[in-house]
């Protein structure tokens, strides 16, 4: 006899925790028949038996009509898609006329494998004689013959995902349920059109851009030479919505959290990268992408999401920041959360969170690569999502930063955000999530240390304006960028900026006090024109003497190649210069750079970094500056013949000529365009020096309106040669034939 023996209990009830349902793809459903216990000794009345004999023959989800009302008609696929807190109507076909006084029909909406009325995963609404309280609203809209049209309004906070529907006839005898029918499954999404929804956006033009636009422009290059590439978000493409739900299932996001936009976005920022949780994309900056697709080669997200979902949730190789941001943007827009891709130029990657980026120069004024561990990214892409932050005071609603590029772990997973842009601007960094990290990306100081011959370093210069130079995102109805720097930062050196820094320090940012450094009175700026990759060019150092005395400057200029992450590669140039500068004058000093010197060393995205370390001879005060130069890539041409019209053939050709004296090997050419074609990939084993390739495809536009065709050529020796072509697709030509009758 054992007093404390185990009892027979359902497994989920054991221990401290009940089961938490984390999958939208698993399901469990109630039985088709449920018999009630006998009601009275006399048995059911004739009337009761008549009421019981009602049958639901079918459910018409009115897919086309409802999708039009719910702004979901652009989604491909045959199932209904609706948005929260807006009514949709379905038609129940019965075997007899419905009688509200006599009959009782319930509609059940289920999600997941453990539906529970108290958890929002099992919703029951009723029509007929007995009303039931429910978070979803229902009403009889119309009755016609044996059909009833029922209006259903999912509540403004309901879980988003794929729901199952059952119609249940309830009588004194029991419940009779319709059969499980996947055709009547429907999706509920966030609703930016509804003011009760946390993702509500006021203006239709904003919703059109941030929810409905299927293509976008991502900005890269460097801050004074902004370049662009188009991106196919393709959130409405066939299978993309299911893929987004699969991502959440694979990431074990509890269904309970899926009605909360803040939670969905936070989880998604971890799930877009593979680190820690086998998320969608494998980040790689290694230069060797032969085991997958190079980050620079992608043209859009659908290819990535569909590959991930269809191949058993194995992370897709490879991504860098714009691929992460582009894919997350698809994810949020697809689920109905307004989102956009933002580029931060000169983005600090601060390993320590101390708001300092330390650059160590060696004895000779060159960057000491073994001691410089921080870096400033030429640009870094993240996302903004728009939502009410129910968990925060009101003023922190609005745009939120989310960054899914794996940089640092936030609370154990590689993710960052959502964090309020307003809070970042005000230095109010206590609120979740990861505000200090984002603040550092924008507001770090660059500290130049110089070591003497004994290896002892001292700070020679602090640049408080290098980082977070400019933030941009795409304008509405244009591929131009909109400068949104002022939504993140007060202007440099303003009183308000200093107050924000003080606030940030009261919120846990380490105080940044430096010894006062001697003012050199002299500045150096580096200047160039646009330079094509493979060209010789001239660099001008403008030495500006702001003092009232002439001075002599001795400067060391180092040139090295650099990744867009600010990580430096090989040096290719080291030159010493000496110049005398009159009081209040600027003296240009030129340095000639030969293509033969830099081309053998170039790394992805073809950036060169020049670091200048100088000394004013008279005062012995040090000077330093750096500048990244982004070389211009060869051209890719897209041509079209024929006039674009839905359903009509159109010929598109992409042309490229290898301008180099060496062959390009294993070249990948991608062609993409939502509403036009599914991503096409063409492989060339080599393109010989001076040779041209021409890739021509025939496409049949599937939708009218403004469309973008984008092309990207990529190989290990030449990355990210892109171009895009925009054009208007006309509506299908109406061929009027005698046999077709039109309504007048």
């Amino acid at each position: 006899m054992n007093m404390m023996s185990l009892k027979n209990q359902p497994a989920w009830r054991w221990g401290a925790r009940a089961i938490i349902d984390k999958s939208n793809s698993l399901e469990s459903n109630p039985p088709p028949h449920e018999k009630f216990p006998t009601v009275s000794p006399r048995g059911p009345t004739d009337e009761a038996i008549r009421a019981a004999s009602l049958s639901v023959l079918s459910i018409d989800m009115r897919v086309t009509e409802n999708k039009n009302v719910h702004h979901t008609d652009t989604y491909k696929g045959s199932n209904l898609i609706v948005r929260r807190n807006t009514e949709f109507t379905i038609i129940l076909k019965l075997d007899r006329a419905f009688n509200e006084q006599q009959h009782q029909v319930e509609l059940e909406f289920l999600i997941g494998s453990s539906p529970d009325e108290n958890k929002g995963t099992y919703i029951i609404v009723s029509i007929g004689k007995e009303k039931q309280d429910s978070s979803w609203k229902s009403r009889v809209v119309a009755m016609h013959g044996n059909s009833v049209m029922v209006g259903i309004t999912p509540d403004a906070k309901c879980i988003i995902g794929r729901f199952r529907i059952f119609a249940v006839v309830v009588s004194v005898l029991g419940k009779e349920r319709t059969q499980r029918n996947p055709d009547t499954d429907f999706y509920v999404l966030f609703n930016p059109w509804n003011s009760e929804d946390e993702v509500y956006m006021d203006k239709e033009e904003d919703r059109q851009e941030y929810v409905m636009n299927e293509v976008g422009t991502i900005y890269n290059g460097v801050h004074n030479n902004i370049t662009t590439r188009s991106w196919n978000f393709g959130q409405f493409e066939e299978g993309v919505l299911d893929a987004c739900l699969t991502v959440m299932d694979a990431g074990n996001v509890p269904l309970l959290f899926r009605g909360n936009a803040t939670e969905v976005v936070r989880q998604a920022s971890a799930l877009m990268n593979s680190q820690g949780d086998n998320g969608v994309l494998v980040g790689s900056w290694s230069g060797d992408y032969s085991s997958g697709t190079a980050p620079t080669a992608w043209t859009g997200s659908p290819e990535i999401l569909l590959k991930y979902a269809s191949e058993g949730c194995v992370p897709v190789c490879f991504a860098q920041c714009w691929v992460f941001a582009g894919t997350l943007n698809t994810f949020v827009r697809c689920l109905g959360i307004p989102g956009r891709v933002v580029t931060n130029y000169c983005s600090a990657h601060d390993n320590t969170g101390n708001l300092k980026t330390d650059i160590v120069l060696d004895e000779d004024g060159r960057m000491d690569k073994s001691r410089t561990r921080d870096s400033v990214w030429n640009y870094h892409c993240w996302n903004e999502v728009f939502m009410k932050r129910l968990d925060l005071p009101d003023q922190y609603s609005g745009w939120q930063v989310v960054d899914c590029t794996p940089q640092e772990t936030s609370d154990g997973l590689f993710r960052c955000g959502p964090t309020s842009v307003n809070a970042i601007k005000e230095g109010e960094l206590s609120y979740p999530f990861d505000a200090r990290f984002v603040f550092a990306e924008l507001n770090s100081d660059v500290i130049y240390h110089k070591s003497n011959k004994y290896g002892k370093t001292k700070i020679i210069h602090v640049d408080t304006s290098y980082v977070g130079k400019q933030l941009v995102t795409k304008k509405h109805d244009s591929n131009d960028y909109m400068d949104i720097t002022s939504s993140y930062k007060y202007s440099e050196a303003s009183l308000k900026e200093r107050q924000v820094m003080q606030m940030a320090e009261r919120r846990g940012v380490p105080s940044r006090k430096y010894l006062t450094l001697p003012e050199a009175g002299v500045e150096i700026q580096i200047q160039t024109n646009t330079i094509k990759i493979g060209d010789d060019f001239r660099l001008t150092m403008n030495i500006k003497n702001k003092s009232s005395k002439a001075c002599t400057v001795i400067a060391t200029v180092t040139g090295c190649v650099v990744f867009y992450t600010g990580i430096t590669g090989s040096d290719f140039k080291l030159e010493n210069k000496k110049a005398s500068v009159q009081a209040s004058k600027t003296e240009p000093v030129t340095i000639d750079i030969k293509a033969v010197d830099y081309t053998p060393h170039l790394v992805e995205q073809a950036n060169l970094l020049f670091v200048v370390y100088g000394i004013v001879e008279e005062t012995e005060t040090p000077l330093t500056t750096m500048r990244v130069i982004n070389l211009q890539l060869p051209e890719l041409t897209i041509k079209m013949s024929g006039s674009p019209r839905v359903g009509s053939d159109l010929l598109v050709s992409v042309e490229f000529t290898n301008p180099y004296n060496f062959p390009l090997l294993k070249v990948e050419l991608r062609l993409d365009g939502p509403g036009l074609i599914q991503t096409k990939v063409k492989h060339y084993s080599q393109i010989l020096p001076g040779a041209s390739v021409n890739y021509t495809v025939s496409i049949v536009p599937r939708a009218h309106g403004k469309k973008v065709l984008m092309a990207c050529l990529d190989c290990s020796a030449l990355r990210q040669v892109t171009n895009q072509l925009e054009f208007e697709v006309l509506k299908k030509e109406l061929v009027t034939q005698g046999t077709i009758r039109f309504r007048s």
Copy 2:
């Protein structure tokens, strides 16, 4: 020719991320000799060569003297242990007298495998002719012959952990370093005695209890029958400090975070449990603990932490909330963070975070176990830690809740907190970490639903005062509890309480509006005396009629066994009662409970749950209530013979008699007491009915002062029979002998 070929770069520099050092046990050290490049064409001067020839022979860490000053003399072990921002002194033994004008000596302090001056993992201080800025302060305290006493003050925010020290003689020729010597390794801890440290505590009596006390009392049982058990925190025991650092290494806590008490505690709350990160303890509530030690059988933390650290960081089996909280308390006190164990009686475990605990009664008024998924724990233990929250506005510093029992994932890992007690009290739930979860544990409403025969449920009663009934923690200098409920909650039904609920709703807690329920005008309370396990007893339901009319109440009483987590087991009693109650009177209704009915069903910790569902016949309004009864366990006696004195033998015996008519099998008896003995475990294969066991051990007290000896008997049929014995250990008897001389 490949333009974009990979360059030779150190591996950690590839990609977006630099290496983050996450281990205090791995190390890399600078070379013993570093030669500088030749300085001048003439070579070094004679003077320079003389300066270079200084040698450091040894470093005396002055362990005993420094430990006394730093309140670390109670830690076992031979290495120095100091606290931040307080000076410690070391003596450098040189081969000649030190000359401050001529010589230059640096002291280097290193932690981890990637020491970096900019990251706080490589600190250099200097004495002699050339000063160097450093976060740690240094000064020459005294010189005597060839020795120099140097005072060193680690900064108030420095990383805590085990540091290595090197002395370096710097000359024009280069650097000469002392050899790596593990004997001079020293530990830096948080410093509650120093007002610059974020864990500063004002009062010495608080520091003595929350940092220095090695034993504590944990409260369990039920809120109206609070029981206690002693716990050996043993934070100063040999090996425990190293084990705590090993826990952080195993959990990959970046060294950079280890100077930040908030981060250390947050990481620790995840690392104490094994879920997700192979942390210290495996939580189990299964009832079958045969593959490890039952949660109820432990007497303290050192046994657990030492087992984890010595057996390759394999999670230790098994724990429930008090074991988690006791072990985390050891961890924080050991590192110098003030901490205490708190018990919350009637702690809601809210799966959905909606602040509702749903109890579903079936048609007959019994708890419907398949539909009741939430539970209220009879009690739940968590920790409080005391610190300044540098990341939050000032008013949220002070005591913080940390809960390492795996209940829900917080941001991907099972952890909770730290969250400010002040913020919880005010309903200011936006700030990190996990405030809403803790708020729910304290403030959830219990909602009673009743289903009709068709399975349709409706709410019949809302109890807003059942949850978070009382919070207690140990008093100073006493085993009695201190009621700290008012530090978490304003009084029930006060204006301030309503305002806090409104604030909580503005911070993301779902609004809790219920339909107004009819007032029954009648209350039921369940009353009992103390009941010994195995006794028959009588339960009294007091039916209180608050109305001015007589009424009749029909009630169903269900009795079932229940785990301390509120998860219910088998029913053993179902009784219907009917009673007439006069206006404004209370009518007692008794129910007799037989031991034979409940004993076969009992589960751990011997709790019974009674649920009453009633109906007032005249008005048809429902009534409901529940109560948990904790049965009293048999006694364990501890006796001592001899007078306790350091270094003298002392006999201790623990006695137990099996009061049952069945044998107790595989019984484990633990004896523990910091400063007295290391944990001893005695196994009995069985104790026959009526048989007694007597376990006698001889112990030799190692330290004087108040000591606690604790015993715990545990087997699967009888859990957690504990007792403790407190006594004063006298100082070692001084045997005065003629040969020993005393200072006057």
